[in-house]
């Protein structure tokens, strides 16, 4: 069929395809770029409609500077967000690698029960158990602490990441373990030196999802963090956007949103392969 189409028809088809692609791409990317560019306007200009989106009266970092003057400041919230996200990544990777290995390679009482229990939590929306989580954290003395929030975020990651890791370990041929055992590898060496390098792509995938999940989560942070010094970026920025610190400074909102978006975009662009892999694993299974 391809030969039947004349060269001109082929060119027209290609032109149509790429125009569609470019227009759609612009529509998807424009709001992000628009915000990032507007954030560089001086505060007075940032209050006006963003036409054009780029600064016309000179490039300025004023919006980022003012952002730091609200409440405990942008930097404090950013630090909270970074702490929560990094801890969520570390803990969910450690817990899921251990559990994935356990579920893949050992047989023990209640194994199936535990596995089903962990996976079935995906069916229960955490939004519906936030009140008791609040009370549990209070009981544990973790009320209004970032550590408590990390605990909640790690738990939310577990069904996906343990499922991923168990499959990753299942895919490692048992002969490799056997050979290592012959060489006298103990359990710790086996997991860290032999198995971990083989399941590394899975680890990157779950780390990426854990980061994005923790960095972007809003409702639990809004409910559980009552003290302003503990606000993560989404909660802090929403407080700012709601006028809690006086008249809404849209320039500061643009700068804050940019700070919130950029790490996600960089990680995604750098690790796209792992992201798509994670989605596929979820979609195929």
């Amino acid at each position: 069929m391809a030969q039947a189409i004349s060269a001109r028809g082929k060119f027209a088809a290609r032109l149509a395809r790429h125009s569609t692609g470019i227009i759609a791409s612009v529509l998807f990317v424009a709001p992000i770029v628009w915000t990032a560019l507007s954030a560089f306007k001086p505060a007075a200009e940032a209050r006006l409609p963003p036409l054009p989106p780029w600064p016309t009266t000179g490039f300025s970092l004023e919006n980022y500077a003012t952002l730091n003057s609200f409440g405990d400041g942008l930097w404090a919230s950013a630090q909270n967000s970074i702490y929560v996200s990094v801890m969520t990544v570390l803990l969910s990777v450690i817990v899921s690698v251990l559990a994935g290995y356990g579920f893949s390679r050992f047989r023990f009482p209640f194994k199936d029960l535990f596995f089903v229990l962990i996976l079935s939590t995906i069916m229960i929306p955490f939004q519906s158990i936030l009140t008791p989580i609040f009370l549990v954290l209070t009981k544990l003395g973790l009320h209004n602490t970032l550590t408590g929030l990390v605990g909640v975020y790690v738990t939310l990651q577990l069904p996906f990441s343990i499922f991923m890791m168990r499959n990753a370990f299942d895919a490692v041929p048992r002969e490799i373990e056997e050979a290592a055992r012959m060489d006298g590898a103990g359990n710790a060496t086996m997991l860290l030196k032999v198995m971990l390098p083989l399941v590394w792509p899975g680890v990157v995938t779950i780390a990426l999802f854990a980061f994005l999940g923790a960095w972007n989560e809003f409702l639990a942070a809004l409910v559980l963090m009552t003290d302003q010094s503990k606000f993560t970026l989404p909660v802090m920025m929403t407080a700012l956007q709601s006028g809690r610190f006086g008249a809404i400074d849209w320039g500061a909102v643009q700068a804050g949103v940019t700070v919130m978006m950029v790490p996600c975009l960089i990680l995604f662009l750098a690790l796209q392969r792992f992201y798509i892999r994670g989605l596929m694993a979820g979609a195929v299974k």
Partner: protein, 309 residues
Amino acid sequence: MTTITASTTAPPRARKLVGAGRRQWIGLLYVAPAVALVMVFFVIPLGMTAWMSLHNWPLMGEHAFIGLDNYWAILRDTRFWNALKFTGYYTVVVTIAIFAVAFPLAIFIEKPRPLTNLYRTFFFMPAVVGFASASLLWSWLLNVDSGLFSPAAYDLGLIDKKFNLLATFQPAFWSIIAMVVWKVAGFTMIILMTGLQSIPQDLQEAAVIDGAGPFARFRAITLPLMRRTLALALILSVAGSILAFDQFYIILRGGPRNQTLTAVYWIFNQSFVSFKLGYGAALSMVLLVILVALSLIQLWLLRKPEGLD
């Protein structure tokens, strides 16, 4: 050491003989942290939700057992039913809108052709941005004075005075739909793409030889073979929409005139604004039942098709 190795590699029958070894119990240690977390942050809270829903439970002071009174109160709570109705309406509209955009995009990027990967990356970018960031971003774009849409339309002469998109229900609602489609379509597109790519190429070619047109091929081959993928994308979209909160809280604060309060938003208000924790728990139980029912439908839709591998 060698016996243990044998136990893990041997076929099931042999395993029973050697594998009862104590070493297998170590597995419990490996999964213990995960099980502990799920217990503390999921199972116990879940049980507490059920327990609290039977109580009058203020934030401060004593709570009192009141049986099913909270549930009777829900039956009379017209504002909750309105919120649920709105959530249902939003879910249907946004899911249709997402599919209407995501399916053509999935077909567009399915085959590896020049620049396809680049387009795919662009379409997907809003999906990795959080709902809170996206909502904050759009609350600015939608703002009547400092935003983009209203001033741009005014400058272009499309409207003769600035129009506040967020002041009345219809424009506010459709603005949210536009924002969510922008944010989520790329995600749904990738899921649908995996389904499209899993259709064997020779089936399509055979149909072409048999003289089937593109529409007939789409209906007779693509759709049936994508059933599980479609079901998955549908369920993800429906479950996500039923739990919608961020965009309505950040952009609209439930307004105009409380017309866009979703179910989660109403529970949030009852539990953390009015501090009626017991009542909030009972509302949560209703939401939970709805979502578990949905998950069961999902399992049924996602069952392996009979006759096909």
